[in-house]
Amino acid sequence: MFKKLLSMLLYVMVISIGINAQGVIYGTVTDAGTGETIPGATVLIEEINRGIATDADGKYRLTGVPSGDYKVTFSFVGFKSLTLDVQVGSSEVLLNANLEATAIGLDELVVSGYAITPKRELTGSISSVTSKDIQDVSLQNTQSILQGRAAGVTVSATSGNPGAAFKVQIRGNGSINAVSEPLYIVDGVQIDLGNTSGLTSTTPLNAINPNDIESLEVLKDAAAAAIYGSQAASGVVIITTKSGTSGATRVNAKVERGVRSLARNVDYINSDQYVEYMGEASALNFGIDPTEGYTSPFAGDTRTFEAGDYTPFEEDYRSFFLSFFGADPDSDPANPTLTNTDWQDFIFSEGITEKYDLSVSGGNQTTRYYLSGGFEDTEGTAYGSDFVRTNIRTRLDHQINSDLSTGMNISVSRATQFGVCQDGNFINCPPSQAMFEAPMSFPYLADGSYNPNTRFGLSTNPAVVDNEVDRNVVVSQVIGSANFLYKINDWLNAKVTASVDYRNTQDEQYRSAIAAPTQNGFITFANRNLLNTQTNIVVNGVRTFDEVHNVSGLVGAEYKRVYSETQATRGDNISGPFFSVLNSTSTPITAAGSNTEYRVGSYFTNLKYNYDSKYFFSFTGRYDGHSRFGADERWAFFPSVSGAWQVSEESFFDGVDVLDDLKLRVGYGQTGNSAIGNFNSLGLFSIAGTYDGSTAIAPTQLANGALTWEQKNEINVGLDFAMFNNRFRGSVDVYQQQSDNLLFGRPLPTDSGFGSITENIGKIQNEGLELELSSTNYTNRDFNWTSRFNIAFVRNEILELPEGEDIGPSSSFQSLQIGKPIGLIQVPRWAGVNPADGRPMWLDQNGEITYTPETEDQVEYKDGNADAVGGFGNTLSYKGLSLDAFFQFSFGQWAFPSTDYYFTRTPDFLMNLTTEVLDRWQTPGDLTHYPRAIEGGNDYAETDNYRVTVGTQSIYNASYIRLKNVSLSYNLPTSLISNLGIRNVRLYASAINLATWTAWPYYDPEVAFSPFDIYTNVTTASYPTEKQIYGGIDISF
């Protein structure tokens, strides 16, 4: 019956087609340069809003076209669009299109701040990443997309926890006491990164579904970034989301599943090896000569042993461990044995990821829309850590009449991070617990109850932390903007935009009475709101005079207000196991609340001129007023000038065949850093304690009317080029930037009642070179091979400090010295292990062996700055099959793994011990790098404690090359799916962090403690990076 109906319906349709005299347009789209066909090119008839993509053979066929005259537009990335006229009758019309390749990149549009600029006209230094670069890469965080993909942008994970923040640094350390993250702008909305969760690492950029991202632009130099004035010193990242295009409705659905696991385990010794180590240490401490046999010194034991056999001492330690840690709960109580727990295995397990994305886009000549929704659930590896995000995005553009158009863009998201505590040497954080618990320890007793004898007792037994502690962070965000664009005349328009960036963060922590016995369990709840509103008006103009004088520019004004508030509560004494809300606590402890805000008012302009697209000139100025600064210095002007010379447009260039394009750019500009406290310039009396029922208000800060921006001056020279028929393209940038007026606390005489006053006194410099290359190595009809590569070198130097004096000049990791880089490492030089007695040796300042190095013996060793970072990748495609491998690297960074070093290299605290101890010195003559076994503390006579004496042996090279992403995708042939009304089906498999090549012996060579860590030369226990493998299907209709 159904079949019958269907065929009848079809019959009616066919009849109606016949009646309306509809025709067919068909043909092939080819590359005019090579003659190869172009699969996937768009064919669009705007008049009737019909479109189709070419199939794998570059062919298309548009049926049912009503008779009439049409303009058909053919387009494809990297080619100039071509519009052909065609007359359609009732017959089939052949319409082939030959598309000319563009000098790749030059006609791309780049979002450069308040305006969209053709890449050809750029005079500053901007790196771009587009959706095409990342379509097969399942990344959860926007910041991680930039890792290795934008030259000069150093991105380091601060935690492997799903949803955690990254440290993003553009062109080196530009500040010491006012370190700020780059300014992120999402579809014109400046995102404020403040007032985030206090419970777990997170970032407001989690609101953005990477699947919605069309492009990321990084404004690197001052010439490009100066339009953002006082907020731009750390660089600007502009994120543009996808928008609808006129034409047929496109539906895109994507389903993905994957698994995350620990990228790497650290090797620790097992319980038996532990006993052997301790027995040996004990024997040597007792005075047993490792080269001679001996009789057991224990009372009642008359056994004799050969040299190197420490059985009686091992037995002694084994029984000590049995009493200290308890026996293996599975062992026979009559014959108890030590357990051997793999704590990494207990703490970290595989996590499952699911992602679903759906988008619908389309429109006609007056209205375009893009709607998308996404859901993601990513389980982390440590305990129950989990990241769940739901987001909806709506983007609507509408042409009201020929002069007026409007647009609206709203993104709503809710992310839940079920986190764990993650960074630092905390006894209740799983990453440090994986180091702190010895293999002899175990989580559960034989009866299934928690073992109370774990390293720090019952309340921090890793099983208790897993089951009895919840840390839940819920972030709800709205990022939206609405605008009106009025076309004043052909060359002038004005745009008014209002935007909002709202975020609510709820931090909830529950600890049962087992995990918090002192408080008999507690619940904390913090509610944080941040409301960031912005309005701006921009007048934009473009005009050409005498066909060669191209003038364009904009002037605008902007106002921004960021208000944030926090309320925090805590209740103790949880009545029972049934509830985990504040109502179930019987003792209120904390009720705290506060709010803060800042405001910025700005005027800005960008004036551009070019002569015949050959000589480009650009001026940018921004006049910013910021409520944070002192009344005397509240307003400041940040200018930049830049120019470019399109050398390849010159007539003398015509004869050069090899080079297709050559452009020289030079820019100089100033940007500011306003990342200080909201009220640092005011003289303040603050709430401080109580007495006799009154609240104290105490003078806490002196007024500082002269406090002002840190200022960055930067000069950048760049060269863009394309060679061999645009097959080899690239750009080089060199820059020097000096950050001046750096904020430092100038100490005041203590008897003034104030410790210091923040003043603008200090200067640092970053110099660097960046190179971006891409090439089309081989291309024909079916097979394509492209490569890309980028690398950035940066050198950091402190130029000026308060009073001309070094700060903490002998500090091992945090010295600030004029003429030296931030993050310099100063430690005594390691001289190895004395082969005669196994003692650790260092060198003193005279180069002599010492066993007790002093501060004076420190040498300038390495530093925490990577010298070169970048990435490279290759894409191979054959017909619908595509393989992409992307590597990311960092060279020259050195760091001290403090937690691993302090806690897992000697048995002082009876924690996990690294397998490095297996290389220990055992008998005279041993040449090795690990000293004699010790029981703990200072076992060697007149020798410093090996565990705490940091020397060059404690500093590791954090250089690495990482196979960041490898993906394989397959587009089903059009012939197979077109009948089903499906435009495209893509199957893909992708892996992240699949392999890492590094000399770093611990979890992860990505060394960054927090987004504000400027030294990056010390790591503490941190949530390790995860390896991720995904598979997905992407269907578009």
Binding site: S594, Y603, F685, S686, G689, D692, P699, A703, P749, F754
Partner: protein, 495 residues
């Protein structure tokens, strides 16, 4: 064209409006947990908050609570570290990782003085009533004098003792900062003033405070009696015996308090509001923690509770008669005194009775006690010592001493103590230990009398002429203040 002209004009107006709006909009951004100096000083609540801050700083500071009361005994021979604990070990051994451990409280003292200076100098005439203004000013003057005297004895010698040390006539005390720092231009470097100048400054403050606080009796705040008591201490240290004697008697009279004279009364004296207190900081255990935000730094945590750290030495216990109410009232076995925490069985290695001092034992809450800073019994002892020395006759001072001994059931003054002023001074020193152990006097008493500092075994720890008698300022302080001269014997900054 016409339309575009209109629009352009509209745009221009918008831009101009935007400009004016922006400049104004940046002005009124205020923090939620802080107010400006002007606001603070122009409202009664702000001024009251500032006054509260002064007390919060005294109470919240380790140097004016735990270290103030326990430190001087630990640096001398009153208390010693229980093996296994490390608290005040540096003072016991008079060693430290960055120089000799001492009792210097520099920054925190000036934090308190800053608040006092604002109250003294900056409160406008018409914000609070004249009566209140005078009361606050009197309190601030008294506290400034109290803090200055503590700093003067820490960093300098007493008047008349300035040649006691390694350098003859070393007469420097601390800088006198009498104005509030309200602007960075006020934070000028100041040189140290002489001991004589500082004592004169203290006397001036006290003289004015006495008038302003006449009739005040709430001993949680400075009263006229406290001003008299500080005056008595100051004159005792300065060797002005009759002035000290007069002031001590005035303090007793004006306090309205009398000596506790029953065994039960002595035993419970420190457990509630101390009826002998001339100045006692009242602590709310649920909202306030002494010595900063952490009760773990409180008095009890350093003496009889939790860590059972500083244990009275055998020398202290041996000074009491068996019937002395103080012996039964203020000492208890470590094991019973301690409520939680480390095993205290090792107390026995400090004194044979394994006794802990329980004046501070968390009587008011978990590790929290009210902080009794001045008691009338100290005034009886000052009176006794000063009167005897003023008359150069032990008999002249025996009256008040006997009054105290009687109240404590401590018998009569031994005849041998009355044969000479030196013998009487010895007896006064012993009685001060018996009465004031754990109340912050021992080191200062030995220092002001030019005596050697003894250790827990009675051996000499620091000779009276040792440079270590004075506290160092440290190189950090010298680096900040180029006019600061370090005390003799200590490291001098290379700058």
């Amino acid at each position: 064209m016409k339309k575009s002209m209109i629009l352009k004009k509209v745009m221009l107006v918008l831009l101009v409006a935007g400009f004016t709006a922006c400049t104004e909009i940046l002005e009124d951004v205020e923090p939620s947990t802080a107010i400006s100096f002007e606001t603070a000083l122009s409202t009664p609540a702000g001024i009251n908050g500032l006054r509260t801050s002064m007390y919060d700083k005294v109470l919240g500071n380790f140097g004016y609570t735990t270290q103030y009361l326990i430190g001087p005994g630990a640096l001398a021979d009153e208390t010693f570290n229980r093996p296994g604990s490390t608290r005040f070990q540096g003072l016991n051994n008079a060693v430290g990782t960055s120089g000799t451990a001492h009792l210097g409280v520099f920054g925190a003292s000036f934090d308190i003085i800053q608040d006092a200076n604002i109250i003294i100098n900056e409160i406008p005439d018409d914000v609070i009533s004249d009566e209140l203004r005078e009361q606050y000013r009197g309190e601030a003057l008294a506290i400034r004098a109290y803090v200055y005297h503590n700093m003067a004895r820490t960093y300098g010698y007493e008047p008349g003792n300035t040649s006691n040390g390694p350098e003859a006539n070393w007469n420097l005390a601390v800088m006198i900062r009498e104005d509030a720092t309200l602007d960075v231009s006020d934070a000028v470097e100041l040189p140290r003033n002489t001991v004589a100048e500082v004592y004169t400054f203290i006397r001036e403050d006290l003289a004015e405070a006495k008038t302003l606080l006449a009739g005040r009796t709430d001993n949680r705040y400075p009263t006229e009696a406290l001003v008299d008591a500080i005056r008595a201490r100051v004159e005792l240290y300065a060797g002005n015996w009759s002035a000290a004697s007069t002031a001590a008697q005035a303090a007793i009279t004006n306090s309205g308090a009398s000596l506790v004279s029953t065994e039960a009364g002595v035993g419970t004296m420190f457990k509630g509001p101390n009826s002998e207190a001339i100045w006692e900081l009242d602590v709310n255990p649920s909202t306030e923690a002494i010595a900063g935000s952490n009760v773990n730094s409180g008095l009890a945590a350093y003496t009889s509770d939790q860590w059972v750290a500083q244990i009275p030495t055998q020398l202290v216990l041996d000074r009491y008669d068996a019937a002395d109410y103080r012996l039964s009232g203020w000492f208890e076995s470590c094991l019973t005194a301690q409520t939680t925490g480390a095993t205290a069985s090792t107390c026995g290695s400090v004194n044979s009775a394994a006794a802990a001092l329980t004046k501070w034992n968390g009587w008011k809450g978990n590790l929290v006690d009210d902080v009794t800073l001045v008691r009338i019994s100290e005034m009886y002892l000052i009176w006794a010592e000063a009167a005897a020395k003023a008359a150069n006759s032990p008999a002249a001072g025996n009256g008040p001493l006997t009054t105290l001994k009687t109240a404590r059931n401590a018998g009569t003054t031994p005849a041998a103590a009355l044969v000479s002023i030196t013998a009487f001074e010895d007896e006064i020193l012993d009685e001060r230990v018996r009465e004031l152990v754990g109340e912050g006097h021992r080191f200062w008493d030995l220092k002001r009398l030019g005596r050697n500092i003894l250790d827990n075994t009675g051996d000499i720890k620091m000779r009276a002429d040792a440079y270590r008698i004075l506290a160092p300022f440290g190189t950090g302080e010298q680096n900040i203040n180029s006019l600061l001269v370090e005390n003799p014997g200590y490291a001098v900054s290379s700058n």
